[in-house]
């Protein structure tokens, strides 16, 4: 089971490789998790369809690549399409569950997740797909270390997107309205903010962020209709570990999760990768619980 563990000590360069790959993929996890934190913090909706939105974005890039358009141009397309899709989902479903109890929104988004993944499965089939970028692969240290150019590009794009979203939230009128609604929806309403529109925008923005993350995933990794649930769980792990409204925390947790997954995949074998994510989820939840019980004792 731990066959490769000794290899890590013998060839330190593997560590660098795993670390780099982990950081590249982790940046995208952090992006999707930031979207979840946004919706969770502002609307108090736990979106279990998060990962399926990501995969949907990936299939948009894949379809464009099939048509002969470079998948990088899929990014703006995915952002626009997913924004519209997010708005439609909000109007049809989310608006009606927003003030209901927590499980209602959880189960409703789970239903959305099933609809999305099964529809993708019917259209594209269950095979693993990749959106070929056709970029070169660099190597260093006598070919022991390889870095695909597309990974560097996607890392830069993820960072640029994150910065754009942060600036948007800080500077624009809509961003301010979103933050005001997150603080106190009633007060925001009294101040003349159309909270329903803010919610719709927040949810659509989240879908657009997920779509962009999906395009990057499709270029540097693989997509498959049923991988969505794992991406959702990843987002939950990151947000639960970091706490929402904590952007640096989300970035660190996202990068950390990426690295942890690469290591466990290398040491224990690829079949344990999903189990690692879920195991981390349980670990994070338990850790939070211990933390909370300590707070409760202090209060007592």
């Amino acid at each position: 089971m731990f066959d490769n563990l000794s290899l890590l000590g013998l060839a330190p360069v593997f560590n660098i490789q795993l670390l780099l790959d982990g950081l590249f993929i982790g940046a995208i996890f952090a992006l999707a998790a930031y979207g979840l934190a946004l919706v969770w913090g502002v609307m108090n909706v736990k979106n279990l369809a998060q990962g399926d939105f990501v995969i949907m974005g990936g299939y948009i890039a894949y379809s464009l690549a099939e048509l002969g358009i470079h998948p990088i141009f899929g990014l703006p397309v995915a952002v626009v399409v997913m924004f519209a899709f997010g708005w439609a989902v909000y109007v049809l479903v989310i608006r009606r569950v927003i003030d209901r109890d927590l499980f209602t929104s959880l189960l409703a988004t789970f239903g959305i997740a099933i609809v999305v993944q099964q529809t993708l499965n019917l259209i594209y089939g269950p095979e693993v797909k990749i959106a070929e970028s056709g970029f070169a692969i660099r190597s260093a240290l006598d070919n022991q270390l390889t870095v695909a150019d597309i990974k560097l590009v996607s890392f830069a794009m993820a960072a640029a997107l994150a910065i754009a979203v942060v600036i948007f939230m800080k500077r624009s009128r809509m961003g301010q309205a979103i933050r005001a609604t997150a603080q106190d929806p009633r007060a925001a309403k009294i101040m003349g903010i159309d909270t329903d529109r803010v919610y719709a925008f927040t949810f659509s923005l989240n879908a657009a962020i997920c779509g962009a993350a999906g395009v990057l995933i499709a270029m540097i990794w693989v997509i498959q209709p049923f991988y969505g649930i794992t991406h959702s769980i990843r987002s939950f792990v990151i947000v639960t570990a970091a706490g929402f409204g904590n952007l640096p925390g989300v970035i660190i947790a996202g990068l950390g999760l990426g690295v942890a997954e690469q290591y466990s995949g290398f040491v224990m074998g690829a079949e344990f990768q999903q189990a690692t994510v879920v195991g981390l989820l349980v670990a994070v939840l338990v850790w939070r619980q211990i933390q909370q019980s300590r707070i409760r004792q202090v209060v007592q």
Binding site: F103, A108, S293
Partner: protein
């Protein structure tokens, strides 16, 4: 006819129908047996989800755990489990009737106990989690279990285990497992009926309505939560053991831990019939299973999309379920006395809240 007589008549008819079903419709024995399994699923989910307000998405874990526990015991009593599973059913291993029945009975009993023990262990871990964390945490446990068993070669890994072959005629086998499914569902129902007439129901309902207040009133919430989950796990373990033997072949992702099929069906069936009622899950399961069996094959792959849509519509537009809706419409028929003034006051209050 008094209400009690009517109730006895209803129970009698269901029992009679259940016993006669495999002889009247011999071609559908398997489907009707699965119907009883579904009823058991919905009933056990409702202990937590409906009566206690803890919505678990991972109850299917206990089903799979029971299934594997039973398989290991049935095989392990007479053979080396590792050798048996690594043969992938290619080597035919015969069990004598005595060995088979002893293994089956011991397996079913042990799987129930093992599942309940798992519930106690996980209960300590996850019951500090509230609301959505609980749902996601349990979902995570169920998915992880499927993945881990799939990577565990001693249990056959992803290629599964072929269960011991039944020493007898196929018809006798079908009937045996039919009656095991039927019996386990009836036992679950009767047990819950008795249980829901005790203090236990009041305690778990109090947890659902306001856990902090219940705790302040002296209800030992953690103990009640763990007991409730163990009861659900106990019966799910039994049904897992029976279902594994009935299908003859078990495998981690599709049969033992099918999170997105059976795992979601149980939630949906309880919601469809009306959660938090005794008859709601039974009604919901029957309706869902019949509709599913009739329409499923005609939908040509779109059935899963339809399932997702059904969940959304059910949750968003019709959350009280069939029985909940009926209770609102004809409260007198359910023995709920409605005070005219208070009901209008309630309605006003509700509309004000909206």
């Amino acid at each position: 006819m008094t209400a009690q007589q009517r109730q006895f008549l209803l129970y009698g008819l269901i029992l009679l129908g259940g016993i006669a079903a495999p002889f009247v419709f011999p071609n559908y024995t398997f489907q009707i047996a699965v119907l009883w399994v579904m009823i058991l699923f919905a009933l056990t989910w409702d202990i937590m989800g409906g009566q206690m307000g803890y919505n678990s998405l991972g109850n299917i874990f206990f089903f799979g755990a029971g299934m594997y526990a039973c398989a290991v015991i049935q095989i392990g009593l007479y053979y080396n489990v590792g050798e048996y599973t690594s043969a992938y059913g290619a080597v035919r291993v015969d069990f004598t009737p005595g060995q088979y029945y002893l293994g089956l009975v011991l397996g079913i009993l042990a799987s129930a106990v093992i599942s309940a023990v798992f519930a106690v262990i996980f209960g300590w871990i996850v019951f500090g989690l509230r609301g959505p964390y609980f749902a996601i945490g349990t979902l995570g446990v169920a998915i992880a279990a499927g993945e881990l068993v799939g990577a565990w070669d001693w249990l056959g890994g992803g290629s599964g285990i072929s269960m011991p072959t039944y020493p007898g005629e196929p018809d006798a086998r079908a009937n045996l497992f039919y009656f095991l499914c039927f019996g386990s569902a009836v036992a679950t129902f009767l047990f819950l009926r008795i249980l829901y007439a005790t203090r236990f129901k009041l305690a778990i309902n109090a947890i659902r309505d306001d856990e902090a207040k219940a705790e302040a009133m002296g209800v030992h919430t953690l103990r009640y939560k763990i007991i409730a989950w163990s009861i659900a796990a106990f019966f799910l373990g039994i049904s897992g053991a029976i279902y594994g033997n009935m299908s003859g072949f078990i495998e981690p992702l599709e049969v033992a831990f099918p999170t997105v099929t059976f795992g979601i069906f149980m939630v949906l069936m309880a919601l469809l019939g009306g959660k938090g009622t005794l008859w709601g899950p039974v009604l919901g399961a029957t309706l869902f299973h019949v509709i599913k069996e009739v329409t499923w094959t005609h939908l040509l792959g779109w059935q899963w999309v339809a399932l997702g849509l059904l969940i959304i519509i059910n949750v968003v537009y019709f959350q009280q379920g069939l029985l909940g809706w009926a209770q609102e419409k004809w409260p007198e028929a359910f023995g709920i006395r409605v005070d005219e003034d208070s009901s209008t006051a309630n309605r006003e209050q509700r509309s004000a809240a909206e």
